[in-house]
């Protein structure tokens, strides 16, 4: 009881809004760990309001593509996917020494050495015909203690790295808030080509000043023999891997195909039955909070019980 009283006494001192995002941040993979660490399962479009075009595009994906097509191998994560994917983060800032005003934040993420500038000096976005890049053009404004960032001029990239693509027509809004040593970033993707409604996801980091930010290396190499110029793909209706995720986890196949209706609680009332019942115990990626503990073959077993057989 004393402990509870102590906790609430602490809260009597209100937390302070934190405006300074500068520093070294480590990601918390406490949501969708298996997707963001080892990588998503093929055909897993769950939680994404995909359009028919977006789904068709995703279905055509063959994982050999990044092994065969060298142009894809060192393709950076865009600034929106980068916040969801693998990413330690360093944030620095520019202060104008004459006006003493904050001009910009800069972010660095080791994955492909991605560098971004978020302008806070009120400059406009460039005209529509200006160059598109993986990091895009970002401007920010304050709303209370929240930094709201708008990014345009993005190159096409991923919404999920199993072929769920984003188009170069998307506009991304981010909301950054810092609470103590935790950073929360809400990323809102509006993509008129691949999505039917905005995709809203949020990610979390914790301040980790001692972390080592590493340089990025990426070398092109043909990893799988293939005819020159070929692009591995599946033609419409020919991808036989799309139901794997539903079978492994005992999910309705329809739900794994994504779409806005599947993202609302009432979908559970009309959700079809699974293709097959879920295994009795977890068999794949059963822990998975860091790259070190995300073991595909780890099977959890009850004390004294035999592990469930793997299919």
């Amino acid at each position: 009881m004393q402990r509870i009283a102590f906790l609430f006494a602490l809260l009597a001192i209100p937390a302070l809004a934190q405006v300074d995002f500068t520093g070294e941040w480590a990601p918390a993979y406490h949501e969708d760990g298996p997707e963001r660490l080892p990588g998503p399962e093929l055909g897993d479009y769950m939680g994404i309001p995909l359009s028919d075009a977006g789904r068709l595009r995703a279905d055509s994906y063959d994982a050999d593509r990044i092994s065969v097509v060298t142009e894809y191998q060192c393709r950076p994560h865009s600034s929106d996917y980068g916040m969801r994917g693998l990413g330690n983060l360093r944030v620095t800032r520019d202060i104008d020494l004459t006006t003493q005003t904050l001009q910009a934040f800069h972010t660095y993420m080791p994955a492909w050495g991605s560098v971004r500038t978020i302008w806070l000096d009120g400059r406009p976005h460039p005209p529509a015909y200006a160059e598109h890049t993986f990091q895009g053009f970002s401007t920010g404004v304050w709303e209370g203690n929240m930094l709201t960032i708008t990014t345009t001029h993005l190159k096409a990239n991923y919404l999920r790295r199993n072929g769920v693509a984003s188009s170069d027509k998307r506009i991304v809004t981010e909301h950054w808030t810092r609470h103590g040593d935790f950073l929360t970033v809400v990323v809102v993707v509006e993509d008129p080509v691949m999505l039917t409604e905005p995709l809203v996801r949020s990610e979390n980091w914790y301040l980790d000043p001692g972390q080592k930010i590493v340089p990025s290396f990426c070398e092109y190499a043909a990893e799988v023999p293939a005819p020159v110029g070929s692009v591995p793909h599946h033609l419409p209706g020919k991808n036989t891997f799309l139901t794997e995720v539903a079978e492994w986890y005992g999910l309705p196949a329809e739900a794994t195909r994504g779409g806005a209706k599947t993202m609302y609680p009432e979908y559970r009332k009309t959700m079809p039955k699974p293709i097959r019942p879920a295994p009795e115990k977890c068999e794949r990626f059963c822990v998975c909070t860091t790259l070190a503990d995300c073991n595909l073959n780890e099977t959890v077993q009850a004390p004294g019980g035999a592990p469930a057989p793997r299919r």
């Binding site: 906790l7 602490l10 209100p14 937390a15 406490h30 905005p198 809203v200 959700m271 977890c282």
Partner: protein, 258 residues
Amino acid sequence: MRSRFCFLTLIAAAALQAQPPGPPQPPRPAKLAAPVDLTGYWVSVISEDWRWRMVTPMKGDFASIPVNAEARKVGATWDPSKDEAAGLQCKAYGAPAIMRAPGRVHITWQDDNTLKIETDEGTQTRLFHFGPPPAQQGGEPTWQGYSAANWERAPRGVENPDPFPIFSVRQGTQGRSLEVLTANLRPGYLRKNGVPYSAAATVNEYYDYHKERNGDEWFTVTTIVRDPQYLTGPWITSSDFKKEPDGSKWDPSPCKAR
């Protein structure tokens, strides 16, 4: 000389504005002091952790939760039929987990200093108490525990509540988040498949309101669960809720163990 004069004039004007402190004023009621309006009906949009939230995960699926070996051992013995027999169907609907459940929340002010969150999923009620904690704390632990709340303040407010005006807060420092700390919890599940939390668990939450380009209103709640018995470190998630025009989709349903 001229710029020095201007600077001194500015200082003098600021000093005139800085009135001597008067008698202490009672704090404004939290409802009046609210920097954002969180009231209304909101739906959780399941764009994250879909297969751990929209369906009951498999036994032993601890993915994304920093559990220790003891939690894995306990989680591996999960048996929903035992929970049903014991009348413990609400174990996965406690404060550490309820905002991650798929469902709708209805937020209202119960009184000037108490914000109420009702959930249709599991029909739970949470009360966020502003102001000093009651003299008599504790009592029987419950699924929702006791929640103390504050509107997050601007940095410098505590140590220097009356800053010299020309150096007053810069852009981006006005707090407008709702901060909540919950404890005195009845042990339950972080996830419906029996991932345990103990009576020692505490929950920090931060509610942040945002309005999107298409006019949709959202709040995102960052939830930080600490549990020295079952977690190796804080478990941090953030859940996104979209505002609805009314309660027409409100659909109360009881707790389910499976």
